[in-house]
Subunit: 345 residues, 2 copies
């Protein structure tokens, strides 16, 4: 690879320090305007603009927007991203994506990578429930780079968010199990240090209590969004002295794991145990035994998040009020939970 022109080359050319070059290219008020102009001029001459950084600096924009998600291969996140792209492309923005694999350190490294890539804003679904305590994240907030959370969010001053009403989605799914005659409804939950999963748990619990059923915390088992892991967790539920007759899983991958385990134990779905998931992943519909799930309008979520970004990037005021958009969930009833005749699929 041929060597690119660096700030050191420019510094050498002008016989000044690299720090001054860096400050000038970053539009620091500590460098005189005349010096700044000379440096930008020289950088251009030396093809520093070959990487279009100079152009970006002129407008102060790269027209790249970063999106960070836990996983790209979930239909939910992929659909949110499509929604974001559909709104931003016509406005001249491009979307670059990073995934965290739900690892906190990768999340921070992704933020650094995107900032290095000069993005104009970051839209993210968080993997780290303590993100606000991280130094890199604090710096990001200080820089006033527009930041929008979607789905997995934290309430942080100055950060807008777009979510669905997870409490209500979980409530609807659990209430549906009650209506199907389930008396011992278990919950396969995900990491409850993340708000969305805590809210789904609370929605489940409230629906249990409102139905006059007993809340039994032995029926709440934590798992991760992976089929095999959820299978092991479902096994714990099936091994209870009094096994559940309904399972509300906080994601479709967990619901699928539960279904596999139930079938592996020669129990029938929905006759012996009803199952509902969350997210309305396409496979939940494709399967012969289609899975009841909560739809989160991911395309819509992405579109709204993109528009919140556009509002923020066009708003030059330094002090911003955050927006909190909450979408309504929709329960899609399918075979995995429906004992009666009508099937909505």
């Amino acid at each position: 690879m041929p060597k690119k022109t660096t700030i050191y080359d420019i510094a050498k050319e002008l016989n000044i320090t690299a720090a001054t070059v860096s400050r000038a290219l970053n539009d620091s008020p500590r460098v005189k305007e005349a010096t700044k102009e000379l440096i930008i001029e020289t950088a251009k001459k030396m093809n520093y603009e070959q990487n279009k950084l100079a152009q970006a600096l002129k407008s102060g924009k790269s027209f790249n927007v970063g999106v960070i998600v836990p996983y790209i291969n979930s239909n939910f996140f992929a659909s949110v991203i499509r929604g974001i792209e559909e709104e931003l492309y016509p406005k001249g923005y491009h979307v670059i994506i990073c995934q965290t694999h739900d690892q906190e350190n990768l999340e921070i490294e992704n933020i650094t990578s995107l900032l290095n890539a000069q993005v104009d804003g970051i839209l993210m679904s968080i993997s780290n429930s303590n993100i606000e305590n991280n130094t890199t994240f604090k710096n990001l907030l200080k820089k006033h780079v527009p930041l929008i959370f979607f789905d997995r969010k934290k309430d942080i001053k100055g950060v807008s968010s777009v979510t669905i009403d997870d409490f209500k989605g979980a409530y609807l799914a659990t209430q549906h199990l009650v209506e199907q005659g389930c008396k011992r409804i278990a919950h396969l939950c995900n990491d409850r240090s993340l708000e969305i999963f805590q809210n789904r748990f609370l929605g489940y619990k409230q629906a249990i209590l409102d139905a006059g059923l007993e809340f039994d915390d032995r029926l709440v088992v934590e798992t991760v969004s992976k089929v095999d892991e959820a299978r092991k967790s479902a096994q714990k539920l099936l091994n209870l002295n009094q096994r559940p007759d309904g399972i509300f899983a906080s994601c479709d991958f967990s619901a699928l794991g539960a279904i596999k385990e139930i079938k592996g134990n020669d129990l029938r779905i929905p006759e012996d145990i009803c199952v509902t998931g969350f997210s309305n992943e396409p496979f939940s519909q494709f399967m012969e035994l289609s899975i009841t799930s909560v739809d989160q309008s991911p395309l819509e979520m992405g579109r709204i998040a993109a528009n919140v970004f556009l509002d923020e990037v066009q708003n030059s005021a330094k002090i911003k009020s955050e927006k909190q958009v909450i979408l309504a969930p929709e329960l899609i009833i399918r075979k995995s939970s429906l004992k009666s005749i009508l099937i909505n699929q």
Copy 2:
């Protein structure tokens, strides 16, 4: 906090100047290879951590690598990306991802965005079969930014590629249908201006001819990788005077569409029509009627593509010979095509 190792500590340890240490760590040609190795070895032993940003500024490197795929929400592409990440993260590189939605103009805009984001290289699966005629793409080649194709590739001088043997994968899938007793085997193909789909068609055709069956081009119907579209295409096949008794689809989404259409016509699978897909998407395994498919070792493909990138980025020679790595496909036989007893799932 323990004190961090600095280049001064390393210099002291080796009784050389800090400048030499710095040059060696930045891979300067002014330091002899043997000295460089000794310094790097010592830095490692002393747990020296290079400041990445400073390193990036000095070397002109961003340590960001761009990956372009048609769709992120295909398990195949997501797995290739995971393989790439697994190899590159330990080397200090970060992966930023763009998708084209199979649109040629977006592919070019993605390349521009990634170059603006200062990536050190691009790994991509192409969406445009005429990409080599595009000006932006020609400029990319001129810049000697390392470029590696995976899966969907074109033979272009100087560009390495990692693919599977698509001809063989298709041959195996079709041969398996012949072995199941199918006599009229149809092919749901994708856009054959892309090499991989053309090769899958050719593998299918060769297997038909080698089995002594008649090749009938009315049995070859083009579709796109979407379930509903494939359903419509499968309908054409079922409406033929002599309908097929086997369908080889060039992707799993098409296979799923075909399965839905066959069932919608009250025909049985595999008794009336056997179906095989391609890519081994997880849903092909999850379904009650699991789908026979060709596994493409996507993780392995990603890992190898990443290593080809690392070779290229470390190779300072201007003139490069391209590498072509071709992986072997594996047929995974499941219920959708197996009339006999044994099921490998």
